[in-house]
Amino acid sequence: MSGLDTFLFIVFPYMCLVSLVVGHIWRYRYDQFGWTSRSSQWYESRLLRWASPMFHFGLLFVLMGHFVGLVIPESWTTMVPESLYHLMSAGVGGIAGIVMVIGLIGLIYRRRTTPAVFRATTKSDKLMYVVLGTVIALGLTTTFYWQIIGGGYDYRQTVAVWFRSIFYFNPQAADMASAPVLFQMHAVCAFALFAIWPYTRLVHVFSAPVGYLWRPYIVYRSRDVGGEPGNRGPRPGWDRQGGMSGNRSENNYR
């Protein structure tokens, strides 16, 4: 195992995960206002109408596939015959992947060709699309090259073992080093995506509003919160003009 392997499959993943976790915590604390899907539907909805659902639904299936393939150890799924598992992963994964890619191409085409959407595209969006596009392109190439054209590579013996080992803090870089280079590239790019994740619009994924399913429809809130002027409590990083906020706790008005 070379030094490069150690870097790519141990050092780099941990650096990226630190960035992912610390970045999200930092942004959540300091940039609630910037935390949004930044929908561009107001500018254009004819293309978005099909591209965005295709991309997102395709992606959600692909992510479920990744969960099964990477997180669940192979020994747990022995009751599923190998051929069926392969058919499921290549078939469902392949179809979901194609749907996702068509959606992604639609989204990128829309970003580039709709003047209003293009003007609203930030540098972080561009970087995000380059990295996300690379991850997806490599992932799809890998699937087609190894699982559909080739006879099938059992990544659950190597890639998945390495992936889980990272979270046990006992990284098995050798397992990953033995995997085909396409898998390696896909995985490394995916970690790069995790690294930039918190600094892009992708933060919207972590606020997926599942709580809506249980919450009462009408939300009531009292004006009388936090003791700060306005409607929210104090936020780190946002001092009030005039230098009072630092002494807030001392000024016990109420």
């Binding site: 561009s40 500018y43 509003p209 009388d224 002027p229 005039g242 002494n247 000024n251």
Partner: protein, 522 residues
């Protein structure tokens, strides 16, 4: 009974001259920023007309507000929670730039920098969305004063519903202005549509707000509101809406639109309502009875039982007093002349309208009749079906009787006051014809026609003990809080509300060396 207080507004449409001052001052106060160029928290539409955004009242298309399902339960018209999440990646009911309009500016620079020449330089319109040259084709009130009505008028959803009864030929046309803000609904479908729970109704005064920190830009509130009064800030990716100028209300000032209204036609006041009966009112099966259902949950602020319950809910005394003097309660419930806009959306809207008598009076006077004669007026109200059916579609889900009743009251007031003003013998039968006494009629006249500032706006300020924390404070550090025992942490000095526009206060504040020098009683 669970008593809650709600800030409401009434607009007396007869007085609106369509000057759009309210829209402009509101825009200057709230939406003169990038991302909300196209946003008018307050807009004034000419009716008949398509409104802003275009045709927003067509709920079969936009699916805003609530509906009843087959079992009579209240459902969001655009679908429930699961459907909302399933369509979150692309909202099928979201109006976009074409439905509002593409905001623009002019390339003024070319006027200044054009070289000397034979041609007069022009400032081309430039899109604020794409920066490119654009053709100006629509705006927030493109069909102002029925402009283009012969061509576009039929796209007004109400005109479409009434069929070809509404005519746009000059002689047969009628029109009036409809200023609109967020209704601060008692049963707000925008709040119910927000997946992140970022929108809320304030417990104290019922104002509906978007928490800018919690909004995640899922844009479901925009389509959920049937009045299309939540807007998407395309720069920040967050929803924004009319705040009812809560920072002003909290210190007892009227909203910007009310304060600057040239016609002085806006009224602000509190109503008390029974929160336990909101669902009951919103699920009234008969759309034409929704207005009555909504009025039935508004509580009489003089009823001792209501007052006792209100005190138990923690509503402070000065607020109860404000509710008793509320012009909104008086106009909606006591004189029964204010109607809600589109009650059939089932959101229980809290901006009420006194329908205009002017189309009737105009028609009378144009044909050479006496527009203040009670017989003529009553006759005209009965004869002029079309404007009245139109008003009924706006305010009473199509039921013309309540509209008729209001117009007859306004007509009677007009006639009665003429006899008073001309010193003629007062005829009590005029007031009686509309079920009022002369005293009631004259006090309604004072509220509607004289409309003194303090009668129009009865605004209790935020609880004083809380308000201190809400008001802007004098810039300075805590050391300035010198109290007698030298302990600065007790903060005896009260912060000074700099938002209160008082020349003396401002001057004093600017000139004061020390915070403690200020006269806090002022």
């Amino acid at each position: 009974m669970r008593v809650m207080a709600q800030m409401g507004m009434v607009m007396n449409l007869d007085k609106c001259i369509g000057c759009s001052t309210c829209s402009v001052t509101c825009k200057q106060a709230w939406t003169n920023r990038p991302g909300v160029e196209y946003v008018w928290f307050n807009n004034v539409e000419t009716r008949p007309g398509q409104g802003y955004p275009r045709g927003y009242e067509d709920q079969e298309k936009w699916k805003g507000g609530w509906k009843l399902d087959r079992k009579g339960r209240l459902r969001l018209k655009a679908g429930g929670r699961i459907r909302k999440l399933a369509t979150i990646f692309s909202n099928p009911n979201l109006p976009n730039v074409d439905d509002y309009y593409e905001p623009w500016t002019y390339d003024y620079d070319s006027l200044l920098n054009a070289p000397a020449g034979d041609d007069f330089p022009v400032a081309r319109p430039k899109s604020l969305i794409t920066d490119k040259d654009m053709k100006v084709e629509w705006s927030a009130n493109w069909d102002d004063d029925l402009g283009g009505a012969t061509e576009h008028g039929y796209k007004d959803p109400i005109v479409a519903k009434l069929g070809d009864k509404v005519k746009f030929e000059f002689e047969q046309a009628f029109m009036f202005y409809l200023p609109r803000i967020c209704e601060h609904c008692i049963n707000p479908s925008c709040v119910a549509s927000c997946p992140s729970g970022a929108m809320y109704k304030r417990e104290e005064d019922g104002i509906v707000l978007v928490d800018q920190d919690k909004c995640r830009g899922w844009r479901m509130c925009v389509s959920g509101c049937p009045y299309k009064k939540v807007y998407f800030n395309h720069t920040t990716g967050k929803a924004e809406k009319c705040t009812m100028c809560y920072p002003r209300l909290e210190v007892g000032q009227p909203t910007v639109c009310s304060e600057t209204c040239v016609g002085r036609l806006r009224y602000l006041g509190l109503v008390l309502y029974d929160a336990d009966r909101v669902a009951e009112a919103a699920t009234e099966p008969d759309e034409t009875k929704l207005m009555a259902a909504q009025k039935s949950i508004l509580l009489d602020p003089r009823d001792p039982e209501v007052l006792a319950e209100a005190r138990r809910s923690g509503i402070p005394e000065d607020w109860l007093e404000a509710a008793q003097n509320s012009p909104v309660y008086d106009l909606a419930c006591r004189y029964d002349v204010a109607l809600p806009l589109h009650p059939e959306y089932r959101t229980l809207p809290m901006v009420w309208y006194i329908p205009p008598l002017s189309p009737v009076v105009d028609a009378l006077t144009e044909t050479g009749h006496d527009g203040e004669d009670i017989g003529n007026l009553f006759g005209a109200i009965d004869a002029m079906r079309i404007p009245i059916e139109y008003l009924a579609e706006l305010f009473t889900a199509g039921d013309i009787d309540p509209v008729n009743d209001v117009l007859r009251k306004l007509a009677a007031m007009r006639s009665h006051m003429r006899t008073v003003n001309l010193g003629e013998a007062v005829d009590p039968s005029i007031a009686e014809a509309v079920g009022m006494t002369i005293a009631e009629m004259e006090s309604m006249y004072r509220l509607l026609a004289i409309a003194k500032y303090e009668d129009r706006y009865v605004i209790p300020s935020a609880h004083t003990e809380v308000a201190n924390a809400l008001l802007e404070e004098l810039p300075g550090c805590s050391v300035d809080f010198t109290s007698t025992n030298g302990d600065s942490s007790v903060g005896e000095a009260k912060p000074v509300p700099v938002t209160i526009e008082s020349f003396q206060l401002t001057k004093q504040r600017l000139e004061a060396e020390h915070y403690s020098d200020l006269d806090h009683k002022q």
